[in-house]
Amino acid sequence: MRQSMAWIHGWLGLLAGWILFAMFVTGTASYFRPEITRWMQPEYRPRPVGNAEAARTAVAWLQKNAPHDEQWTIYLPNERTLATRVFTRARPSPDPKAPRAPRRPETRLDPATGVPVEARETRGGEFFYRFHFQLQLPHPWGRWLAGLCAMFMLGAILSGVITHKRIFADFFTLRWSKGRRSWLDAHNVSAVLALPYHAMITYTGLITLVVMYTPWPILANYAQPAVFSASLYADTASQKASGQPGRLADIGRLVEAASAEWQGARVSRVIIGNPDDASSTVTLLRSSDDRLNARSASITYAGVSGERLSASPAPGPAIETAGVMLGLHLGWFAGPLLRWVCFLLGLTGCAMVATGLVLWAVKRRKPGAKPFFGLSLVDRLNIGAIACLPAGMAAFLLANRLLPPMLAGRADLEVSAMFWTWFGLAGLSLLRPARRAWIEMLTLSALLFAAIPMVDLVTIGGGAFDGFFLAFDGTMVLLAVVLGFAAWRLARRPVDAARPRRRVSLAVSEVREAMDVA
């Protein structure tokens, strides 16, 4: 049993490892999704307004700019997300042969004035968040690939636990500078000590897209699948437009009414279906920042009259379980301190994946012998995936500061900066011997992270700095230090053909992972 599980663990981990590393890194960064967005639009200092007012201004803008769309989704601002985020879904074209309209990215509106945020155009933290589960691939391939990798991760966790012989005996064991043994210790420690977290994050991650991955139970129980989502929460897509024009009632009043019904709890999201129609509906979702269940209660009102139509039913155990699983993955319930804890655990997950990948190569390296092709391939992919990705992420942030704020299309340029840096460095690393490549790429990543606070100071100026920017830049410095330390430790060891090629200690790996987060 142990042998077969060890075998499958190694292969599942290897094949999915490079993508999983990127998912773990960008996912960990996403714990601070709104903070990253805020850092990337430093000139944006909004005047905070109440939810009702924010909803009003958003609706006013939408009525001017997307009056005939099928559905508007408004994410109201909160302490962390300063702007109102709106998404619109256009009416499907009456021509069945017309291609489906592409999904539109969000628009960020100022909550006080309702106009698009006047700051440099950027994807912000949303970029890392979307990459995390879409991998920059077109829909649906990205999500499918991410899901497959997550399944591999689940298999790797289960097989890893089964195969780990002395899971409790080795619980505290971490030996440095012992080559292969150190890598195994590092992998075990990062995997076992945070095992509840890794298992939770993997399974709940799959659950976030379960409707896409396993829709079959819905089809078996519902003649019309849309009824399933309707019985969970209001999905206005199923509501038919009456064809008569209608004007929306005051949204602010509805927001206040819902909040009152929820004993003062905030409204987090407003979904308006068929906004220009007489049968428009307004669904308000309660904020879930104070609870584990991310799928919170909703109340639906008629859009034109403001009459309360219905409220979401109290969830049964299965639906509650699904909601809690979603909430655990997103981590919205976490206060500031707990959020940093989740962040550290995410980094531990990155360490687990990275040490696993490195271990795979280290185990198969024979001192003095020339590595076989597969081993070289794995080695090179490791460098590209682990050492070059952080440089790419740093480049994304640097591009934000270095590109002129008024430049058209700069949001896409920032994204390009990330990918060009990541893959470009990965390609360049092929020209260097593996060991040197590790050291150089890590050093480069460290330098790029160190550059961020300096560039920040120069471009934004000290006057605009407040606690938030200090904290963010401080984190960049820490990441740079950690990366630099890794490179230094690697460089210290003399290259000796008789000994195992890379006698790296845990610090390097722990560090390498810690760095990958913006």
Binding site: L158, Y213, A318
Partner: protein, 96 residues
Amino acid sequence: MASAQDAGRGWSMAGRCLTALVGGYAAAAGLATLLARLLPVARVEATAWGMILSFLFYAAFGLWAFHEPRLARVASVIWGSAIVTGGAALLLGVRP
């Protein structure tokens, strides 16, 4: 001959991988669907339980496919489960 043996092993491994990946998914989906269809609780609840458990089923099938040494057994159990559970779910039709 060594190469023929290797080729045989190669095909056998490919078959095992296919069974684990595709067959495993089919079997897990079938089992989850059957569970959702038959569980005597509220419709929305049963559907949710089926969906929640589907990944566990998939992982179990997938891991077992590489644990059990006899490929014939692996293939017959996994593909068989897929066909039986899927077929049963289809025959039962949508929940009234």
